[in-house]
């Protein structure tokens, strides 16, 4: 609402986050310019000042063009960039850029498809975790937690050139890296007219600086790509160059799609994370000391240095009094990871018969995960599945009504999987917290009791824990110790643990007094505090459930600090120290947020300062200082090992220190800029049951000539389990459809509201045709390229039904976070309905044959500079 311009890219905010979109409209009413960059004209575009259609999956090229525009025209906010980013830092002389290696960075190994990252470091600085193979196998961007990989030697300052002229300083590297991303190149790659691209550049830069700020909004339209994190990085670089981070009306907004998906990463159920972005230990971590050494540098700056306090406090919450200094606080009770154990790899392991049991907790992968066919075949090969949900969903009934029943690939009488369906309690039948998309934790009070066998997850997992411990009581097997020693002693309300007590224990307890701690700075590494998630420390400050505060916004100041509670420490704008200049004065009165009050000797302002309250702007650390003490008074990025925001990421990412334009895994277009076609570090799973459509330089591109993308409707929710069953919503959006342009309709003979089917090498799905100029044919230099779009909410059960759109999508993932590329692939579209039964299998086989698809297709990922790159299949 404080923004002067809002750029929405990779998000259909009006459709997917409609109530949040009111604030965009509020800003627009105050004069802000709203820009929507998206392949399709959507409800968001309709309300924007400018819609820019681009080819799906070319976001880095577009954003790279904006970066070049900023640098070429000296439009960066130079004081901010110099003081608060790593622009002036010098990079190791061994670093070689993609401009010189045909699309690869230095350190690439085509045999493993991964990088040795040691040459990407600052001059004279060592970084841990440069082992690319291990990193790519373990999604190790999170390996080092929220602070990125540890840096050694930054305590004393990194070699830098404040004039930004040194050829190896980050600023100059940035210039060279994006030198070829001209408006004309952007236009050719993205299919965007030059004048529209330049209009975006002008709006973004004219609305940034001392007096003005631009907000950047994205959703999974940016993340579900093999270059997902690099899309976000590119946006962040722009926001940093323009000084739009930590300031009112600025920022990068990741609009998340589920009520508690933010909380699900903060207090994660993810294979590579412990709560608070602490990494899961791996096989190289023999003990707690080795683990901590891997997370933080010995002399690094910032609050991540205190990872020992966060880790020990977590172990104290897990194992209570059993966790002592003598036994390393039970560190050895933690299981170790040593590879890719993410959901898609696990599903393939199910197909191989290596996994026996599966819990699905409010999740419907038969419809909602990429490659629905693979998901269902995996479940049909398990010993048992536990499904917990509000209503009957496809993932519970795959054995009797999945599409594979019709094709004969699953036969109920031959399917051995036991299925347990447990009805779940809904959001009004239990108390607890959701963390919304801007990190605000909000408490829900229980309204009514659940009925019949309906229970919360809290009840289910507590009860399961009790039963397991009963069964193992008296066991002398060392492997059972972690379970038997577990602190499983939450206060009970009837037969259910008290959610408030669990939240209190997540907040953390001072074990000497038994009182809740007031924030993570109070956590200790000596075992005198416990905390289930250090980031949430403070949610129970003063013994009060801060998340349950509901003081009306009508009675509060602009930042509404008494509604809910935002991590960390109720700070609403992250890194808001950057809203003031190095001397601690607001960059401008119009954009004041927090500032230094010299009289009182503290930071103050409209928001809670994201900075040590009493540290003056001119504070300089004493020699040898580490951790928070080593942060200068003008280092706003307090979680970073060097206190600076990273334009260039010397560590933390496994696919490059800078975003680079790569084509999607499946693309009809050859990379215009480099011999390297797609992301050279993307993770492919080359196997017969996960085929890819061909992409250049492979032949037969005409079999799947169109670009496919998919997303949400307002009236449905994800895999449909919470919306297709609800009559009001089903009535509002009754059928699956595919949007095509009038030109494509003519080309393929598709009739408006008639049937068509969309085909890939994985599957074919039926849909009603919607012919609309919301889909713009893209004019590339050598041809017109068509894109098609589908909503993905449908499945075979519920009030309204339809084919599973995820059946079209294969599994190929980004190497940093292992998220699938489901926002862009290639496809064919044909009029009429698809074949059914065995005929469907033959039909797909015909497509694969014509396209020359084998399990090697798409797996020869290193296409730069060599004629015969190795295939990365499961056989090799």
């Amino acid at each position: 609402m404080n923004a002067d311009c809002i750029v929405i890219m990779g998000s259909n905010m009006a459709e997917a986050h409609p109530v949040g979109f009111q604030w965009v409209m509020e800003a627009k009413a105050r004069g802000a310019e709203v820009i929507h960059v998206d392949p399709r004209f959507t409800r968001t575009s309709a309300l924007a000042d400018l819609h820019v259609p681009l080819r799906a999956g070319t976001d880095v090229a577009f954003l790279g063009g904006v970066i070049k525009y900023i640098l070429d025209n000296d439009l960066d906010f130079r004081e901010y960039v110099t003081a608060y980013t790593n622009a002036s830092f010098l990079v190791d002389e061994r670093y070689v850029d993609t401009e010189d290696l045909d699309g690869l960075f230095s350190g690439y190994d085509p045999e493993t498809g991964s990088y040795d990252r040691s040459s990407w470091q600052y001059e004279g600085v060592d970084a841990e975790g440069a082992d690319g193979v291990r990193a790519k196998e373990q999604s190790s961007s999170y390996e080092a937690g929220a602070g990125g990989a540890p840096l050694e030697g930054v305590g004393e300052g990194v070699a830098s050139d404040p004039t930004l002229e040194h050829p190896r300083c980050v600023f100059q590297i940035l210039r060279r890296h994006f030198a070829r991303y001209t408006p004309e190149v952007v236009s050719t790659i993205c299919g965007v007219p030059v004048d529209r691209f330049l209009r975006v550049c002008r709006a973004w830069t004219e609305n940034s600086g001392r007096e003005r700020t631009t907000a950047l909004v994205y959703s999974v339209g940016w993340t579900q790509h093999t270059t997902g994190p690099q899309n976000v990085r590119a946006g962040s670089i722009i926001q940093l160059l323009l000084g739009n981070i930590g300031r009112p009306g600025g920022g990068v907004y990741a609009l998340r799609g589920h009520a508690n998906i933010q909380g699900s990463t903060d207090i994660p159920t993810l294979f590579n994370l412990l709560p608070g972005y602490l990494p899961m230990p791996d096989t190289s971590h023999e003990n707690l000391a080795a683990y901590l050494e891997n997370i933080r540098g010995k002399d690094q700056k910032g609050f991540w240095y205190n990872a020992d306090a966060y880790t020990v406090s977590l172990l104290k919450e897990y194992w209570g009094e059993k966790a002592t200094p003598e036994n390393d606080f039970c560190f050895d009770y933690l299981p170790r990871i040593n590879g890719d154990h993410a959901t898609y790899r696990t599903v393939m392991d199910m197909v191989e018969g290596r996994v026996f049991g599966y819990f699905l907790l409010g999740q419907n992968p038969a419809v909602g995960s990429a490659h629905g066919h693979l998901q269902r075949m995996a479940m049909a090969n398990l010993d048992w599945v536990v499904v917990r949900d509000l209503a009957m969903i496809e993932s519970a009934t795959f054995w009797k009504d999945s599409p594979e029943i019709e094709t004969g690939e699953i036969v109920p009488e031959k399917c051995r999987t036991e299925v347990f369906f447990f009805p779940a309690a809904s959001h009004v039948e239990k108390s607890g917290t959701f963390t919304q998309t801007q990190r605000m934790v909000q408490w829900r009070d229980q309204a009514v009791e659940p009925r019949g066998d309906q229970r919360s997850e809290l009840w289910f997992f507590h009860r399961l824990g009790v039963l397991l411990r009963e069964r193992l009581a008296g066991s002398t097997d060392e492997r059972d110790r972690p379970l038997l020693d577990l602190a499983w002693d939450y206060a009970m309300e009837g037969d259910e643990p008290s959610a408030e007590d669990v939240l209190r224990r997540i907040n953390g307890i001072d074990l000497r007094t038994g009182k809740p701690v007031n924030g993570y700075p109070e956590l200790r590494a000596d075992g005198t505090t416990s905390s289930g998630c250090w980031l949430y420390s403070g949610v129970f400050a003063d013994g009060v459930n801060q998340a349950a505060r509901r003081r009306s916004h009508l009675e509060q100041e602009a930042y509404d600090l008494e509604w809910g509670w935002t991590w960390p420490l109720n700070r609403r704008v992250l890194y808001n120290r950057a809203s003031a200049d190095p001397e601690g004065r607001p960059w401008s009165e119009r954009k004041a947020l927090v500032w230094w009050d010299a009289e009182k000797g503290e930071w103050t302002g409209h928001d809670v300062p994201d900075f040590e309250r009493a540290k003056p702007p001119d504070y300089r650390p004493p020699a040898g200082a580490v951790g928070p003490e080593a942060l200068r008074g003008d280092d706003p990025f307090i979680m970073q090992a060097d206190g600076k925001a990273w334009l260039f990421a010397p560590s933390g990412l496994v696919d490059g220190p800078l975003p680079t334009h790569y084509e999607p895994h499946e693309s009809p277009v050859r990379n215009l800029l480099y011999g390297q076609q797609g992301s050279p570090a993307r993770k492919v799973y080359g196997r017969p049951d996960n085929p890819s459509n061909p992409a250049p330089p492979e032949p037969n591109l005409d079999v799947f000539p169109f670009v496919f993308t998919a997303s949400r409707l307002t009236e449905h929710h994800t895999a449909g389990g919470m919306s297709r069953q609800v009559p009001y919503l089903a009535e509002l959006q009754p059928a699956l459809f595919v949007e095509v342009s009038p030109e494509l309709a003519t080309e393929r003979g598709l009739a408006h509201l008639g049937w068509a089917h969309v085909v890939t090498s994985r599957g074919a799905v039926d849909a009603r045709v919607v012919v609309t100029d919301r889909m713009t044919p893209l004019r590339l230099p050598d041809r017109v390229l068509h894109q098609v779009w589908m909503p993905y909410h449908f499945g075979q059960s519920g009030v309204v039904r339809g084919d599973v759109v995820n059946d079209l999508i294969g599994v190929v993932v980004d190497p940093n976070v292992f998220i699938q590329e489901s926002k862009v692939l290639t496809c064919d579209v044909q009029p009429g309905r698809r074949p059914r039964g065995r005929a469907l299998l033959e039909y797909l086989e015909g497509y694969r044959r014509r396209a020359g698809v084998t399990e090697e297709t798409g797996t020869r990922i290193a296409t730069a500079g060599r004629l015969d790159p190795p295939a990365h299949t499961e056989r090799t």
Binding site: V19, G257, N260, Y318, R336, I337, Q436, L458, L468, S723
Partner: protein, 189 residues
């Protein structure tokens, strides 16, 4: 009621003589419509909640009467939503009270073609047994280089992102203590 009152109660009369000439307000009101009250007015209590769909976090007011949810509306006090709900949030009463809600544990035996009912305690016992069995079969003490693994690869999980923070905490804690690592979430997707 006298004749005069009767005539004056006639809507057309009120429309012609009153200020509501278009007959869209006071003139069209009948005794019945004047006495109607929203069902929210008769609720026994109003409970503060949060919408379970997307991540905007719109505040909801849940109206309860006779221990049943009778209405769910937006909470105007919220600085996030200012009382607004989208079509999904507005339909959330149907989500929580509709006939699609399952109330009983169901069990599909191997090779069976239909569900059968199962008692909750029995089902919990069966799951506990299977968890220990799968854990044992997938157990790995050490890798080929002798380094600690202390885990099982026999169990997996995928959580939706509508679970509460408190629930996720227990899920992660219990599975970690079991040695299960393939415990994932919609957040990966």
């Amino acid at each position: 009621m006298g004749v005069g009152d009767w005539v004056r109660s006639w809507p057309v009369y009120r429309q012609l003589t009153g200020t509501d000439r278009l007959g869209r307000g006071a003139a069209a009101r009948s005794r019945r419509s004047a006495e109607l009250t929203p069902r929210t007015a008769s609720a026994d209590r109003v409970v503060g909640s949060v919408c379970p769909f997307c991540a905007v976090g719109c505040a909801q007011k849940v109206y309860v009467k006779d221990e049943r949810v009778i209405q769910i509306e937006g909470n105007p006090d919220s600085p996030i939503s200012r009382g607004r709900l989208c079509p999904k949030g507005s339909a959330s009463k149907q989500l929580v009270t509709g006939p699609q809600r399952q109330e009983h544990v169901l069990y599909r035996a191997p090779y069976a073609s239909e569900w059968q009912r199962l008692d909750l305690d029995t089902a919990m016992d069966m799951v506990a047994e299977r968890v220990l069995d799968a854990r044992r079969r997938g157990w790995q003490d050490r890798d080929e280089q002798g380094r600690t693994l202390r885990r099982t690869m026999g169990l997996a999980g995928l959580g939706g992102a509508t679970l509460d923070n408190e629930e996720n905490h227990l899920v992660k804690k219990l599975f970690t203590a079991l040695g299960a690592v393939q415990i994932e979430n919609q957040a990966r997707i």
